[in-house]
């Protein structure tokens, strides 16, 4: 090994790649970089922090961090053990997926957090609802018969959709992967929290997309959908492909297709429901369409 100062950053990349290819062998691969880091004179704080993290969690790989029972506050505090820089780094990783960088292995690295997924979902709910409101207003601005009404019931619908997607779909994917893991034995799975984390951070790209959807230009909206889906879909694909590629071809491709299509459905559903473009006949009969929406809102209200 040449001077550890020169090689330190590269060794870190090596460690990450080793970790992604052999999750079970990480205990052996950790000792080399940490020895190199310890032998150099000045310890750079952020790198040694990561080494510490890897070292601490070496015996916890493959299992969840158990710090107290689920009835103690500290158990939940362990899911919020992130700093601002870490959250920003994970968001950046979800927006710029580079091939070969598995989001879970590279960014989450055994410290899945619930802060990112939860607040990204909340922000997405409000950004979709507010942008949809703005869009409806801008579309109907020229219509003299239109009286602006804030459609607040959409916030509830957006919230239910986003939170169901962000929790039920990872549950399904995790359950499926765990079942395949128990059947096939050579598939590496992810913990439930890591799956939730990946899905939560992959939803981040929809926030600026929904804000840009207020521009009422038809081809731009569909172009934005395509871009957002490619980016966040590729994050998901690159995360889950290593987990299923050892399975049979059919199962692997079917899993990938289901994941991508559900993600696409979410985006298209948002676009169609919140950013409705009224057709020419609808805009002139705007007064007649409102009783229909009144009916749906009363039904929703009664079912509460």
């Amino acid at each position: 090994m040449a001077s550890p100062d020169d090689l330190k950053f590269q060794e870190f990349e090596e460690a990450a790649d080793l970790l992604s290819s052999n999750p079970g062998a990480s205990t052996l691969s950790i000792s080399n970089p940490s020895a190199a880091a310890a032998s150099s004179g000045d310890v750079r704080v952020d790198l040694s922090d990561d080494e510490d993290n890897q070292q601490e969690n070496s015996e916890l790989l493959g299992g969840e961090k158990q710090t107290g029972g689920f009835w103690t506050f500290e158990y939940y505090q362990s899911f919020f053990n992130v700093d601002t820089v870490q959250v920003l780094d994970r968001i950046k990783g979800s927006v710029m997926p580079l091939p070969g960088r598995n989001f879970v292995k590279h960014h989450i690295r055994n410290n899945p957090d619930l802060y990112g997924p939860f607040w990204i979902c909340v922000t997405l709910v409000f950004s979709v609802a507010i942008s949809g409101d703005l869009f409806t207003f801008l579309i109907n601005m020229g219509d003299p018969g239109y009286h602006y009404r804030p459609q607040f019931n959409r916030v509830s619908i957006a919230a239910i959709t986003v939170f169901l997607y962000a929790w039920l779909v990872p549950l399904g994917v995790w359950g499926f992967l765990t079942w395949r893991q128990s059947v096939e034995r050579h598939i590496s799975g992810y913990t439930f929290l890591e799956t939730v984390c990946v899905y939560g951070y992959s939803l981040f790209i929809y926030i600026p997309t929904s804000i840009l959807w207020t521009i009422p230009v038809y081809w731009l909206e569909w172009l934005l959908i395509a871009i957002a889906m490619v980016i966040s879909g590729s994050v998901l694909v690159m995360t889950f492909w290593p987990a299923v590629r050892d399975d049979t071809k059919l199962t692997a491709f079917a899993t990938m297709a289901v994941i991508v299509s559900l993600h696409a459905l979410l985006a298209i559903g948002f676009k169609l429901y919140f950013f409705q473009t009224p057709t020419k006949t609808e805009s002139s009969h705007f007064g007649q369409t409102t009783p229909a929406s009144h009916l749906t809102t009363t039904n929703v209200g009664k079912h509460q």
């Binding site: 506050f73 939940y76 505090q77 899911f79 919020f80 992130v82 700093d83 601002t84 820089v85 959250v87 802060y115 607040w119 909340v122 922000t123 409000f126 507010i130 409101d133 009286h147 602006y148 009404r149 804030p150 459609q151 607040f152 019931n153 916030v155 509830s156 009783p291 009144h294 809102t297 009363t298 209200g301």
Partner: protein, 229 residues
């Protein structure tokens, strides 16, 4: 000074020569004050008139309002927290924002329950978030701060309603936008001044962002309030 040090030993030696004469009488009287009257004045507020009780609480609430409007580094909001102010503000805001029944012109507005739930649930979630991230503030103190800092937004709501009495136009919209933006930034700044100190330094932004989102959503609800025709 050197003189004192030199004469240290002799000084102490001299003390042994001092003796207290045995025949100086020590006398005086010891009386134990009857404590019941004092404790009654301090702790039992059962006998005071109702007006005093109410005014005392109202004065405490009013004092905290003043602290919110001029956020200095005072700990009054944190020390004696109470939830009367937030309740008052929340009910006022929800009453002014609420929409009517279905089929009416006010149908799209948020219902009273929706505003109430957003404010209280939002405050609870933000408090939980800051505690989970390692904050040292207590649960109710944080609820108190977040609730009191809705005051600028409530004032903005009243101003918006008054502006809307003159009809809805571009000018009134611009005025409302400025007022709501100013009060929403004031609310965020005030609550950050109280809350940010209790967080570890590398997580301050993680705690401030949900507060910003919370007041932004309330500001949005105020801005999009449209009068019934």
């Amino acid at each position: 000074m050197a003189e004192v040090e030199e004469s240290n030993k002799p000084l102490f030696a001299g003390l042994s020569d001092i003796s207290i004469s045995e025949d100086i009488p020590v006398e005086g009287d010891i009386s134990v004050p009857v404590g019941s009257q004092n404790t009654d004045n301090d702790f039992s507020t059962l006998d005071e008139p109702v007006k005093d009780t109410i005014l005392r609480d109202l004065r405490a609430v009013g004092q905290k309002f003043v602290h919110v409007m001029y956020p200095k580094k005072s700990s009054a909001l944190l020390r004696d927290w109470d939830l009367w102010g937030p309740l008052l503000l929340c009910v006022t805001l929800a009453l002014m924002l609420q929409g009517g029944s279905a089929d009416s012109e006010e149908d799209g507005r948020p219902q009273f329950a929706e505003v109430f739930v957003i404010i209280w649930f939002g405050s609870v979630i933000i408090t939980l978030n800051s505690k989970l991230l390692g904050g040292t503030i207590s649960f109710f103190q944080s609820l108190c701060v977040l609730g009191y800092c809705i005051l600028p937004l409530t004032v903005a709501m009243i101003v918006c309603r008054i502006v809307l009495l003159g009809g809805a136009s571009i000018v009134s919209f611009a005025v409302r936008l400025i007022v709501v933006t100013a009060s929403f930034s004031w609310s965020t700044f005030a609550s950050t001044a109280f809350l940010a100190d209790s967080q570890p330094a590398n997580r301050k932004a993680l705690v401030v962002y949900p507060v910003f989102l919370f007041y932004f959503v309330i500001g949005w609800m105020i801005l999009t309030f449209s009068p019934s025709q």
